[in-house]
């Protein structure tokens, strides 16, 4: 389909407005900031995986300028650091500091001093007495009878809930008659899968700078994906009126979801600053950051049935989410896991039992894809196996069953349903098959010799935002302000955060397209909570679809005001006026076509309005998108497996993406390259295992033992092809959808299927490390 209008700004590569600052190292991130008279904070972390703090003695601190903070000095409010659900879906089990640490590294106390070194020395003179409890490191083990409870009580919507069997929350869903569906199936496959727990490895560690204000308020510069939720949470914890809490927009040094919640450092630094009456900075070391967040480890029992022809008849999924010591967003995730699953392929009948389980480990939070990479890996692996049973090619099997245009879709969970209006799945799969010569790939189990090659494919999607026609339990809306400056440029003000992918530039381009000007005429303003309208969070691949939607909405309003004001000044009918860009004057011109002299540039308009006291042309508005269209992706990947060392290498990657209108081709491709890198590493490399004796991370937080791939581990650029499907999303700004998460979601499935194609062995646990590959080959040899 190609009903696309011809664009002037969109679809071209443009230089990012923050590009120079970033490549010259002049950009200032939260961890770079400092204020006069500032104190430096350090936190005391629990050495035990599960304990009670009986006593904290601060009397040995010799430095009288040190400020300490202990659990009984902070508000005892329980909270959830992640505010994107309605109250009835927001489980609260956090406090600012804890006297019952539930994992090694949990923060018990904090100190602030004149230097980081002085703070560290003070920290080392704290004396803490603990009573140790037994700890549990496995989600299934945690639910066993007799296991020490990790939380006794938690809160939900002002009510107190007793936690049973360490189950944080659960969700069950059934649609259609699953039993009957499986009876109709000629082939059924059921498998158990276990994913890894990955660390985000975002460049910037969690940091915050807080300045207490004379009016009792605070100004906060922090690593965050959400300014407004930071303000709401600080208001809820500390009771400070919202107008006195100012959360500033600071560039974020990468995130991948790790700052989707308000980071624990933020309320700690606020409490310290309020007590010290001086600015306080708290910046985590990499080791602390590794003890702060990770992805959700999931265990799935997945069962799918298909009839003789290859039509799916039913599916059942049991999911156990190992959430670590606290809930960040476990309940909405239970909804998303089932949503991601049932929105991949048409299942006439389906049932789901999801449980989020506490363990004595680092709390899990969203990590690019929010559970989607995990479940898509399991589904795409099982789809290959089931196709084999049915006797159809796995690609054809997907063609027969995928959910596409016109179908109901609820990726973001059962309360967020909408209908798909743009779909590039056919194009992605057809082109990918052609380019990879898919139907002539090697047959599994036919290869011998040291190096074996295999092709695998995986497909998936992610939602662009969590919008829908009717409200559910997920909050999703944003807003923007736009004003015309006297020189004909515009200021674009929004609370949206740019994670580094160029989101705000993309939105500036959307505005530029609407207002017929080049992108650099739209100035991206660094704002704060006081100067922006609410935006939920830059997450869920919503930056362009929702954020750009809001930008377009205010741009259209501004354009209408320009028409009206120009109409008055030109003595012309506003709706008859046209717009063009005059390269010579470097100004947009509003004109009455064919009538000599009836034209005015934006600059002339703004100046005239100023001189005649007519006001500023501006618009501010909120925007709720009507849907959350999936952006579809598909990967065809060729690997080489060295059967002597177990090392897997990527040889070729063909990636197709349906993201609607492509706003910035290079940056969009960059998202896919990054998605491949993370997905590749998720499949063959990354994990954060625990040492059961110490209860700590096995690598103790040292990044030297948390490896991520470098360019040397990834396919060469020549061997990596990215193409975009020719689609247009009718509900998106100029037809655009998201890309961030869809770029990652199907990668693990594709890589795992390629490894299977090379070796004839399936793996049900991630990561598929060199060790596991040699072990499996040996087992196979022994069995044969």
């Amino acid at each position: 389909m190609s009903s696309k209008p011809a664009f002037k700004v969109l679809g071209r590569d443009t230089q990012r407005q923050d590009g120079v600052a970033k490549v010259t190292g002049r950009e200032k991130f939260a961890s770079d900031l400092s204020l006069p008279n500032m104190l430096h904070a350090r936190v005391l972390k629990s050495p035990y995986a599960h304990a009670k703090v009986k006593r904290i003695d601060v009397s040995a601190i010799s430095d009288p300028t040190v400020v300490t903070l202990t659990p009984d000095e902070v508000p005892d409010a329980r909270f959830c650091p992640r505010l994107m659900s309605t109250p009835e879906a927001t489980y609260k089990d956090w406090t600012v500091l804890t006297s019952k640490p539930r994992y090694v590294g949990e923060t018990i106390a904090a100190v602030a001093a004149e230097s980081e070194e002085a703070a560290q020395r003070a920290l080392e003179s704290l004396v803490v007495e603990y009573e140790e409890f037994t700890a549990v490191f496995d989600a299934l083990g945690s639910m066993e009878p007799g296991v020490e409870p990790i939380h006794d009580y938690i809160e939900l919507d002002e009510e107190t809930l007793k936690v049973e069997s360490n189950i944080a929350c659960h969700l069950e869903i059934e649609e259609g008659d699953t039993e009957e569906g499986f009876r109709q199936a000629d082939h059924v496959v059921e498998r158990t899968y276990r994913t890894n727990r990955r660390y985000h490895t975002q460049l910037e560690t969690k940091s915050v700078l807080v300045r207490p204000e004379p009016n009792g308020g605070v100004t906060v510069w922090s690593t965050t994906q959400t300014l407004h939720n930071t303000r709401i949470l600080l208001h809820e914890i500390f009771g400070i009126p919202m107008g006195k809490i100012r959360v500033m927009k600071v560039p974020i040094g990468g995130s991948f979801g790790s700052s989707i919640q308000v980071n624990p450092v933020v309320p700690i630094a606020v409490a310290l600053a309020l007590k010290a009456r001086r600015p306080v900075k708290l910046s985590y070391t990499r080791e602390e950051d590794l003890h702060d967040h990770c992805s959700y480890q999931m265990i799935f029992k997945l069962k799918l049935g298909a009839d003789r022809e290859g039509k799916l008849t039913a599916g059942h999924l049991d999911a156990w989410l190992d959430i670590g010591a606290h809930q960040i967003q476990a309940y909405p995730l239970l909804g998303c896991v089932v949503g991601w699953w049932v929105s991949l392929y048409k299942l006439p009948a389906k049932s789901y039992v999801g449980k989020a389980v506490y363990t004595n480990k680092v709390p899990s939070c969203a990590f690019r894809g929010y559970g989607n990479p995990q479940i898509t890996w399991a589904v795409e692996t099982l789809m290959d196996e089931l196709a084999e049973k049915v006797g159809v090619d796995p690609l054809d099997f997907r063609f027969m069953n995928y959910i596409g245009e016109g179908d109901l879709f609820w990726g973001q969970g059962p309360s967020v349903k909408s209908v798909i209006h743009s779909c590039g799945v056919e194009e992605i799969l057809t082109k990918g098959a052609e380019m990879s010569d898919w139907y002539n790939r090697p047959r599994a189990e036919t290869q011998t010799g040291r190096h074996r090659r295999g092709w695998g494919m995986g497909r998936g999607y992610h939602t662009s935002s969590a919008g829908a026609p009717v409200p559910g339990t997920v909050i999703d809306f944003g807003g923007a302000m736009l004003k015309l400056n006297e020189d004909g440029t515009f200021d674009y003000v929004s609370a949206l955060m740019d994670h580094g992918g160029g989101t705000l530039d993309a939105n500036a381009k959307i505005i530029a397209e609407e207002l017929e000007i080049p992108h650099h005429k739209v100035n991206i303003v660094r704002a704060d909570t006081g100067t922006t309208v609410y935006d939920v969070c830059t997450h869920a691949s919503r930056g362009i679809y929702s954020g750009g939607g809001a930008a377009l909405k205010v741009a259209a309003q501004v354009k209408q005001k320009i028409r009206e004001q120009a109409g008055n000044l030109l003595d012309a009918y506003p709706n008859a006026l046209k717009f063009r860009y005059d390269q010579q004057r470097e100004q947009a011109v509003v004109y009455a076509e064919g009538i000599e002299g009836r034209e005015i540039t934006y600059k002339e308009l703004a100046y005239t309005m100023r001189n005649k006291n007519l006001g500023t042309i501006a618009a501010v508005d909120s925007y709720r998108q009507p849907s959350c269209p999936p952006h579809f992706t598909g990967y065809f990947i060729e690997v080489d497996v060295d059967t002597w060392t177990g090392k897997v290498r990527p040889l070729r990657v063909i990636a197709g993406a349906d993201i609607g209108t492509v706003i910035n081709p290079k940056l969009a491709k960059g998202q896919i390259h990054g998605g491949l890198a993370q997905g590749w590493s998720m499949t063959v490399n990354e994990d954060t295992p625990y040492d059961p004796t110490s209860g700590d991370l096995w690598n103790r937080g040292f990044i030297s033992d948390y490896k991520v791939p470098t360019s040397m581990d990834l396919p060469s650029l020549e061997a990596f092809t990215v193409f975009f499907a020719d689609t247009y999303e009718p509900t998106g700004p100029f037809g655009a959808k998201g890309i961030g998460e869809g770029a990652l979601n199907p990668v693990a499935g594709a890589v795992a299927n390629a490894i299977q194609n090379a070796l004839g062995v399936r793996f049900y646990e991630l990561p598929i490390t060199k060790d596991r590959i040699l072990e499996a080959l040996k087992r196979k040899e022994v069995e044969a």
Binding site: R42, L44, K45, S46, P47, V104, G105, E116, E117, Q120, L123, E124, L126, T285, R286, E287, E288, H291, R450, D642, T643, W644, T645, G646, K647, N685, P689, D696, W698, N699, R700, G701, F702, S704, D705, K707, V708, P709, T710, M712, D713, T769, K770, D771, L774, E775, K778
Partner: protein, 298 residues
């Protein structure tokens, strides 16, 4: 105080910094301050100090001592000063041509940034069982030159290591350099390592040097890294090769011997079973490559 609140601070304990200009002066400082730590590139030492695994009260910079930074072709051997940067070794035409095995060991250390800082002396004195440079020196039967208050002494590379992080060095001794014999023309060599990613410390590594007379093995050295407390030479495997005419079968049998004679442990980089299993294939590859190279060079 539990280590978790220390090992991740990045804040080192105070120390006194010394910058001697001669080996003699450096040794004198080490003698006067027991527990003082020499600092070369700092790529092993500084992370350990920041992680508070080491808290030296005195740190002695070696990089301003000219005699530690020389590379010299001495005909039948090449002398490499302890504080020569790894990157310099990697780029040295002499070393690439005359000691290709050492050159490839050094190239596999970390990244360019690490090699711009790190030194061969640091690699050896850090005494990690995974040290790639150390492996090459053991395989090439290098001599380690040591300076102490009593003067110079020399130790064979393979006897220098006593365990992870442990060497024969006294607290007041320094390594000044290495004499690395240049293998004869009929010697083929090969180094291979495997890690979790390209930029990783080896999970397992192997260096092989075979001196050939046609297909007959005159002399053999088989050295493995990360499978024991120190880099180890496998005498059994070497014995199996020496004096024999190489065949694919013999290579495979020897590789099996390699796999059987190591006693690796499981750590975060890999399991014991993995190391045993991988050593077999790696030995086949390394022996075969050394064999081909030794045969053709004649």
């Amino acid at each position: 105080m539990n280590p978790i609140n220390k090992h991740n601070t990045h804040i080192v304990m105070p120390f006194e910094y010394h910058q001697p200009a001669t080996v003699r002066a450096a040794v004198e400082i080490l003698r006067k301050h027991p527990g003082a730590k020499p600092l070369a590139g700092g790529t092993d030492l500084v992370p350990k100090m920041k992680q508070r695994l080491l808290e030296p009260k005195h740190v002695v910079n070696l990089k301003k001592i000219p005699e530690l930074s020389v590379v010299e072709d001495r005909g039948d051997a090449v002398y490499i000063g302890a504080a020569v940067r790894l990157r310099e070794i990697e780029k040295s035409e002499t070393i690439r041509r005359r000691l290709p095995l050492l050159s490839s060991c050094v190239r596999s250390i970390g990244s360019v940034q690490i090699r711009n800082m790190g030194t061969l002396g640091g690699n050896v004195c850090n005494a990690s069982p995974a040290a790639d440079g150390a492996l090459g020196l053991v395989a090439l039967e290098a001599t380690v030159h040591i300076a102490g208050p009593g003067g110079e002494r020399q130790v064979e590379a393979k006897s220098f290591f006593e365990g992870p992080g442990l060497t024969v060095l006294g607290e007041d001794e320094l390594v000044t350099g290495f004499t690395v014999p240049v293998p004869t023309e009929d010697t083929g060599t090969c180094f291979i390592s495997v890690g979790r990613t390209a930029l990783d410390i080896s999970t397992i590594s192997i260096a092989v040097a075979l001196t050939m007379d046609g297909d007959r093995v005159k002399d053999a050295k088989v050295v493995l890294g990360s499978v024991a407390p120190t880099p180890i030479r496998l005498a059994d495997a070497e014995k199996q090769l020496k004096g024999k005419t190489l065949t694919e079968k013999l290579v495979e049998d020897t590789a099996m011997k390699v796999s059987e004679s190591i006693k690796p442990i499981t750590d975060i980089r890999g399991t014991a079973e993995y190391r045993r299993e991988a050593s077999r294939g790696m030995a086949v590859e390394a022996i075969t490559k050394a064999w081909r190279e030794g045969r053709t060079q004649r």
